[in-house]
């Protein structure tokens, strides 16, 4: 089976869907002729024409707002926000409009829309190219929020997102675009070509939204992770020798609580890791849910390992980033309790 980078897999998903469904259109800043600053849409304009894949003005509210109108018409727009950090001008359109259109019109109008955006740090992007705003979306009723961690999942999840009848926020951990980065910033990153989850089937397949994957089976404790942190968790488990069960959530809303609860009931311990800031982060929701559903199975307090409650710094990036050493310490501490 061909191995692809995550960028290639994401491009492949859009290519497959544009070929299958004439209603799929792709646009965003630098997305058309050039193919996007991360090259996710490279070649799509040449293949499908300017009216299916095109450049947009630098106006995120315009990009999302126009896409909502297109979705209401009956198209399936898949738009790119160049960096998740640039999403805020379009946030009103996402929250007040896309998320509520089906509900407020009682299904008279719907919004099958995908908003793709690169997320997360690790590329010296400072505060404006590194944020992980997933909690700003998971808090909004009517949205689905997806974060893939591998090329295989990225393609299957993105196809599922494009086919979904409701708006989906598709957060792409940009540090994973070209390799399964595990947080060891001082070592060369292994290429995707050496990773089995880079095996991307040709053509159409989906990974259902709302289903987590167990990346590593274990009995000692449960790690809840998504995106880049899945790879950081794998490294931390290997390096500490803690027999962790690592769950890749893949979709934050809807959440696969069943898989989470079954694992925590088995292990009795839970560590939650995300790159976003701590306070009111998605980890708070996960922690509450684990407590509500697994309280009598818990043998230790639930621990959260996250970015600090500061803006994402430039020079201190690796002090901010919850890497394998910090997560490893948390695993050991949780085992000691």
């Amino acid at each position: 089976m061909p191995r692809k980078t995550m960028i290639e897999a994401i491009r492949d998903a859009m290519d497959v869907m544009m070929a299958r469904d004439a209603n799929v259109v792709v646009f965003g800043e630098d997305v058309g002729y050039f193919g996007g600053v991360f090259r996710a849409t490279q070649g799509l304009q040449a293949k499908y024409g300017q009216s299916r894949c095109f450049d947009a003005p630098i106006n995120e509210s315009g990009i999302v707002g126009a896409a909502i109108g297109m979705a209401a018409y009956g198209l399936r727009p898949c738009v790119e926000i160049q960096f998740a950090d640039y999403m805020y001008p379009g946030y009103d359109q996402i929250v007040s409009e896309a998320a509520r259109l089906r509900y407020r019109s009682n299904g008279d109008f719907t919004c099958p829309l995908v908003v793709r955006m690169p997320t997360g740090g690790g590329i010296s992007g400072g505060q404006t190219h590194s944020q992980s705003p997933e909690a700003l979306f998971t808090h909004v009723s009517g949205l689905k929020t997806v974060v893939p961690s591998s090329p295989h999942d990225a393609k299957g999840l993105l196809i599922a997102a494009i086919e979904d009848p409701d708006p989906v926020i598709f957060l792409e951990p940009k540090r994973l675009y070209n390799g399964p980065f595990d947080g060891h910033y001082d070592r060369p990153v292994a290429p995707w070509s050496k990773h089995e989850l880079a095996e991307v089937p040709d053509g159409h397949y989906t990974i259902p939204l709302g289903k987590a994957a167990i990346r590593r089976e274990g009995t000692a404790l449960t790690v809840l992770a998504y995106g880049t942190m899945v790879h950081v968790a794998m490294a931390a488990a290997t390096e500490t020798g803690v027999d962790a069960e690592i769950i890749d959530l893949r979709t934050l809303v809807p959440l696969d609580l069943e898989t989470i609860a079954a694992s925590v009931r088995k292990t009795g311990r839970c560590v939650i890791v995300h790159e976003a800031t701590l306070t009111s982060g998605f980890g708070a929701e996960l922690s509450a849910l684990v407590q509500e559903t697994c309280f009598y199975h818990l043998e230790a307090p639930i621990k959260r390992v996250t970015g600090w409650d500061t803006p994402y710094p430039h020079a201190q990036e690796w002090d901010y980033f919850p890497g394998p050493a910090r997560l490893g310490r948390a695993l050991l501490e949780t085992m000691e309790q």
Binding site: G62, G65, R102, R104, F109, L255
Partner: protein
């Protein structure tokens, strides 16, 4: 140290406040029939003056004059008159119902009836409006049942929106009426997107955006104009300038610019101002802009110059910020009376028939109201179910919502 004088902030004020004498002398009203009617494919650069004038058809004597006249037959005009009268009667009944506690909130159209009623008449089936909260004439002029509007206003058991939306935020795809958000300006750019989709699919349908004078200050107004002009989208963008944004006079949004219509000129979008209280003029301008969109000539910006006679909503008290008699001084008159007078001049109508029709319309509206109230009002009688609250957030209910619904026991 500097020799420069200290800077001062200038905050615009309306000419008159409560207690003062209303003054609209600054509103320049051209003579009816005096503005040229360009070809729809005219170079936008050659018709920039239309953004600073006001296209008018009905003169003081009730005659239709000039190059924008002569498009509607007697029976079409009578239809239009009935639509406006129906909207006015509907508003009066619903205002009263709100005061009686049958619903939480209402917004009336008094003085602005011609804008949405006449515009609807120029559209084709399948075209899509993205309205604000003050364009119910689009529904009434398209034959949407009054009783369903009332069911929505009452949030009763027959409410097409299941009690999820505040009153007047209707939705009817089959009537070309996009779900009204309640947020401002967001839908302007959505109209452009819908129009772009129609062009992408080589469809023939067009979109229509609606915004108020105050909301043109929103960034989404700019977004809509950028996208509309960039892609030459088949869209008509309407600004309803009713002079007031709740308590804020239109000068706060307009700043130093001459007119709202002139905002379009920088984008190369043809921009027209029209007498929004003149049914014939609104129709003629709408038809011109719609034809442009339909012929793939691109977007048009229309500023409807009108006046909000009533309060912004049932939660507003205009006597606190403008003279009580200001609406009487509004120089463009009342749209219903002007069309009525025109039809009388045409020998197609009489005061007697008008009174008789007014009574008939009131009966129709009251009958619809009785029917709606049989299905409940906001706090009495039939109501949408609590189960409905959980439905429709997504196409398929996800597990977390199912758990919450079970918690409520529905």
């Amino acid at each position: 140290m500097t020799d420069d004088a200290p800077l001062t902030l200038r905050v615009p004020e309306p000419a008159v406040r409560p207690g003062g004498t209303p003054d609209f002398s600054s509103v320049r009203i051209p003579k009816a029939g005096s503005v040229a009617r360009p070809a729809v494919d005219a170079d936008p650069e050659s018709i920039r003056d239309l953004a600073y004038s006001i296209i008018r058809v009905l003169n003081r004597d009730g005659e239709a004059v000039g190059p924008w006249a002569g498009l509607l037959s007697d029976s079409e005009l009578l239809d239009g008159l009935r639509h406006m009268m129906t909207l006015r009667a509907f508003d009066a009944r619903m205002l009263m119902a709100q005061r009686q506690g049958k619903t939480s909130f209402y917004m009336q159209h008094m003085g602005e009836e011609a804008v949405s009623c006449a515009f609807r008449k120029a559209l084709a089936p399948g075209d899509m409006n993205f309205p604000t909260y003050r364009q119910a004439g689009l529904l009434i002029a398209d034959g949407y049942p009054l009783v369903d509007m009332m069911n929505q206003i009452y949030s009763n058991e027959r409410d097409p929106l299941k009690g999820r939306q505040m009153p007047v935020l209707y939705s009817s795809r089959k009537n070309g009426f996009f779900s009204v958000s309640g947020n401002l300006a967001t839908q302007y750019i959505q109209a452009v997107g819908w129009a772009m989709a129609s062009a992408i699919k080589n469809d023939t349908r067009i979109a229509v955006g609606w915004i108020g004078d105050g909301s043109t200050a929103e960034s989404d107004f700019h977004a809509a104009l950028v996208f509309a002009s960039t892609y030459k989208a088949p869209v008509v963008l309407n600004i309803v300038n009713n002079q007031w944004a709740i308590s804020t006079f239109q000068g706060i949004a307009r700043g130093g610019s001459g007119t709202f219509a002139a905002r379009g000129l920088g984008f190369g979008i043809p921009a027209l101002r029209v007498d929004g209280n003149d049914y014939l003029a609104v129709y003629a301008v709408a038809r011109w802009a719609i034809e442009r969109a339909r012929r793939n000539l691109g977007p048009t910006l229309i500023e409807h110059v009108t006046y909000r006679v009533g309060a912004h909503s049932t939660s507003d008290d205009p006597s606190a910020y403008r003279p009580k008699t200001e609406s009487d001084a509004w120089p463009l008159g009342d749209p219903v009376i002007r069309l009525k007078n025109h039809l009388i001049v045409r020998d197609a109508w009489s005061e007697e028939r008008h009174k008789q029709t007014e009574a008939e319309i009131l009966d129709t509206v009251i009958a619809a109201q009785k029917e709606a109230e049989q299905h409940g009002t906001l706090h009495a009688g039939g109501q949408p179910s609590v189960r409905d609250m959980f439905e429709g957030v997504y196409a398929q209910m996800p597990p977390h919502l199912r758990r919450q619904r079970h918690e409520v026991g529905v």
